[in-house]
Symmetry: C2
Subunit: 348 residues, 2 copies
């Protein structure tokens, strides 16, 4: 029953148990049910109460499950719902920018309903002619990550040789399509035949390979890049980075977006070929999408028409139901997802 | 007896035996004596015949003693004299830019006299009010390396925190002094108490430490950089790089000049902390001085007055006699040299 005090409803939640040093397991999270009042408390200035529709599973979330302070983002709080980006519908608001019925994307909780107080991460969704779930991916953080990483960090030029690891993932599939639109030669690596097929047949990569089938990554790269690699969009780290360093061209660029192969390791693998940075004058740079949110309107102006014209496509892997979030998140590190991993909590 | 045909004299030489995969030893070179005619042959257009005065021992030379093709510089030829930079006096010339009596610096041979045919590496020495040996160091390739690396790659700003490894070496001692002149806080690491004293008392570093006395390089860096490192001028690689990655500040820069700790290893050490590139948005870039020779006149205009005013000092480690070159070169990798390693073949 709705009243001025707000309806009280049950609220299924995914709770983060405790910090995880090694491999993240589904059992590091558990499902519980609490209750929530569907109204922003009076003393909660600027608060927004939302119904979560789509939750985003992103590799960086793994690193918030470590007890590591002093990074750009604080660790998750053990015993609390997992925090991550999602698409949600506003049920009640004390924030002047959001009203009941609006759709938003930004940081929310892994639960059915969330009271969002850190509203500075929220964006209002204006264009609903596209799947709402896209705001967890191509029209959200991963999309802007691909855009900023490729255009701002890689300094790409037409005709250059581009290699992308984890290439069918949320970010990789877009970097490859941006690079093709610019006129680059683009090869991607991924972890299954299905993903390789996607890269070649759906995303229009010039070529692709399954890294799990390659005994010698250096030889694999030499097969696809006879003249070497100008731009490496780094999503995985470890052995692939070592092989790439052997194949970079002079004045090449390595844009370090992430190193997903390392997140489940207690001690990261050693990278042995950094010496190649010197004779090849390689520029290697890590970046965070947070520094580039000012580009978001410009990015939307570019990408929305491409989506509507079918010039850029986006593949999502949508799990159904909040209960599926722990498996969806851990699956990222086992290469189980095909495309951007999303969980549909509710489709209304 | 000098004649039109040219005097024939004995020519002591340091011969490079064969490619060396692991630790470079003095016995990988040997001394021999051949003869040379002190005249440029008639068919040798643009050739220059020189008497070598000072020979430069530089870490990069180690990498020419490997059978590795396809780098920016070809391997040395087994059975031939070692090739490297030096200061020399022109005895005869068929090159329009050089005449008998000129002093030059550039690529020459490890021998008493050399016939130089690849004259494109030569620079004529105009200013002789400074020690001639300086043209193997502060006024030669290492000087320009320090200048280009610091000003072109590090993007330094006044007040920033700068760390330099191998800091008393040919390049490091200059980078530190450039950084101090700009108003940075500068700490260096070196391999002995004497070198640490030099850094603090002669070169004016804010602080310095002996890395060999530190069990925990991360803890050492945290002692000197409470708020982290903005700029790391990388000369050594390996464990030091790993420790530095833990201590970099957001938007820090790592200028990779060399990785001397790795040159004598068959398999380079693994670097484990590259993941820090991402949250800290670190820009890591390798460079070669060859791309910056166009800056040499500008560099001389800056550094010569500083030298003459005593605002920049330079410490050389000068071995006497050609016979000393193998020990001088191998000593670089055992941290034996104090300052720029030079060999005086002849002082006239």
């Amino acid at each position: 029953m709705e009243s001025d005090a707000g309806e009280v409803v049950s609220n299924k939640q995914v709770i983060f148990k405790d910090y995880v040093p090694g491999v993240l397991k589904e059992s590091d999270m558990y499902i519980t049910t609490s209750t929530i009042t569907l109204k922003v408390p009076e003393d909660c200035t600027n608060g927004v109460l939302v119904k979560n529709l789509y939750l985003s599973c992103d590799p960086y979330m793994r690193n918030r499950m470590r007890n590591f302070q002093g990074s750009y983002i604080s660790p998750l709080k053990p015993g609390s719902p997992v925090s991550g980006r999602g698409v949600a519908k506003v049920l009640d608001s004390r924030h002047p920018d959001y009203k009941k019925g609006d759709c938003i994307w930004g940081m929310t909780g892994w639960e059915e309903y969330s009271l969002i107080t850190a509203t500075e991460t929220l964006f209002k969704i204006h264009d609903k002619d596209v799947p709402l779930s896209y705001y967890t991916g191509i029209l959200g953080m991963p999309g802007l990550t691909a855009y900023a990483g490729f255009y701002e960090i890689c300094s790409p030029k037409k005709g250059e040789f581009v290699f992308i690891s984890a290439a069918s993932g949320a970010v990789g599939q877009l970097v490859g399509q941006f690079a093709k639109l610019l006129g680059c030669y683009v090869v991607g690596s991924a972890g299954s035949k299905d993903k390789v097929d996607l890269l070649k047949n759906k995303f229009g990569f010039d070529d692709a390979f399954n890294y799990k089938e390659e005994l010698d990554l250096d030889a694999a790269l030499k097969r696809y890049f006879l003249d070497g690699i100008d731009i490496y969009f780094e999503n995985v780290g470890g052995k692939m980075l070592d092989a790439v360093l052997l194949n970079m061209r002079v004045h090449g660029r390595i844009c370090v977006c992430g190193m997903v192969s390392q997140y489940n390791l207690e001690q990261p693998e050693g990278v042995h070929n950094l010496m190649h940075l010197v004779p090849k004058r390689i520029h290697m740079e890590g970046f965070l999408v947070y520094d580039f949110f000012y580009l978001f309107p410009k990015y939307l102006d570019m990408v929305l028409p491409y989506i509507k014209q079918g010039k850029i496509v986006y593949v999502e892997d949508i799990a159904e139901g909040l209960e599926g979030t722990p498996a969806a998140l851990t699956g990222l590190f086992a290469s189980r997802n095909i495309g951007k991993q999303v969980v549909a909590v509710s489709r209304e």
